[in-house]
Amino acid sequence: MDRPEESRWRPPRVCEDYWTEFRHCKSLRNRFHHYYTYGAMPSCQQWNEDHNNCKQWEMHRSPEAKEALQKSERNRVAEQKNFTPVWQLRQEPPRDWHMPLNQEKPQDS
C-alpha cells in the first residue's frame, strides 16, 4: 500500500544547504566573482526564502511552503536550461570510449 505523497516528499535539499548557499551568495568573494562575470551584484534573497520555506515544511508540514520551494527550484532548473544547444545530445556514450588503444575501429566478428 502506498504512503500518501506528503509523507514521502522531502525538500530537494537539506535545509542547511539553503542557508549555506545564502551565506555563500552574499559573501564578498561571490559578489566580486559575480561582478567580474556579469557586471552586476548577485541576487541572493531567494536562497533565504527557500531556507525559510524549508524550515516551515520541516516544522509544520506547510503545503504553501512545499509549493513555494518546489516552484523556486523548478525556476532554478529552468534557468540552467535557458539556452539553445549547439549540438545534439547522445542517447548512448561513444562506442569507442573503452576500446583498447591499438584498436581504433570496431572489428567484424
Partner: protein, 192 residues
C-alpha cells in the same frame, strides 16, 4: 600530480562522476597520456583515441595540473554526452572551448592578472572569448575574423551551458558547492 588532481580537486571529481554517470568511466591508464609537447601547450583532448594528453614538460605546479585536467575533462564530458563533430564543425569546437575556458578556472581574476590582463566588470566573458579564440586558431587554419564570427555565433548558448556544474565555479569553494549538489542530485530531482 595527475593522481592528486583526480583524487582531491572538486572540479575533477565532479567531472569524473558525471562522466561515469554518462557511461564514460575514466581510467587514468587508458584515458590520460603524459607527453612532451612543443611550444607552451598544456594539454589537449584527442577524440579519435578518447584520450587526454597532458604536456608534462609544460605543467610544473599542482594548481596548473588541476586546471588543465579540468579543462580537458570538460572536452571529454562534451564528447561523452553529445555528438560533437570535433573535426568538421567549427561551431561545436568553439562551443566546447568556450565551456572549457568558462568552467575550468582558466579565466579566474588571479589567472588573468598573472597574464597581465587587467579587467574587472564582465572581464570573465572577455577572457573566455579570447581564450576560446586562441584555442581554435591553434588547431584550425582559419582567419581570425572567421574564428571571431564563429565564437560570436555560439557564445550566448555555450557560455550559459554550465553542465555538469550547474554554476560557473569561480573558486574551489564554488566547485565544492557544485560537487555537493551533484552528489545530492537524486534527492533533488526526485522532489522537484
Amino acid at each position: 600530480m595527475l593522481h592528486f588532481a583526480m583524487e582531491t580537486s572538486p572540479y575533477a571529481k565532479l567531472l569524473l562522476g558525471a562522466m561515469k554517470n554518462s557511461g564514460c568511466k575514466v581510467f587514468k591508464e587508458r584515458h590520460f597520456s603524459c607527453e612532451d609537447c612543443s611550444g607552451t601547450v598544456s594539454g589537449g583532448f584527442d577524440a579519435a583515441s578518447s584520450q587526454i594528453v597532458l604536456c608534462q614538460n609544460n605543467i610544473h605546479q599542482q594548481s596548473h595540473m588541476n586546471r588543465v585536467v579540468t579543462h580537458e575533462l570538460i572536452h571529454s564530458f562534451d564528447h561523452c554526452r553529445a555528438h560533437v563533430d570535433w573535426f568538421n564543425n567549427l561551431r561545436h569546437l568553439a562551443c566546447s572551448e568556450i565551456r572549457a575556458a568558462n568552467l575550468s578556472g582558466d579565466c579566474s581574476f588571479i589567472n588573468e592578472v598573472s597574464r597581465l590582463n587587467f579587467g574587472l566588470k564582465e572581464h570573465h566573458q572577455e577572457c573566455v572569448r579570447g581564450r576560446a579564440l586562441r584555442s581554435i586558431l591553434a588547431v584550425r587554419k582559419i582567419s581570425r575574423e572567421e574564428a571571431e564570427k564563429i565564437v560570436d555565433e555560439v557564445f550566448d548558448s555555450c557560455f550559459n551551458d554550465h553542465a555538469p556544474f550547474g554554476r560557473i565555479p569561480h573558486s574551489k569553494e564554488d566547485a565544492k558547492f557544485a560537487y555537493r549538489d551533484y552528489m545530492n542530485k537524486d534527492r533533488y530531482y526526485a522532489n522537484l
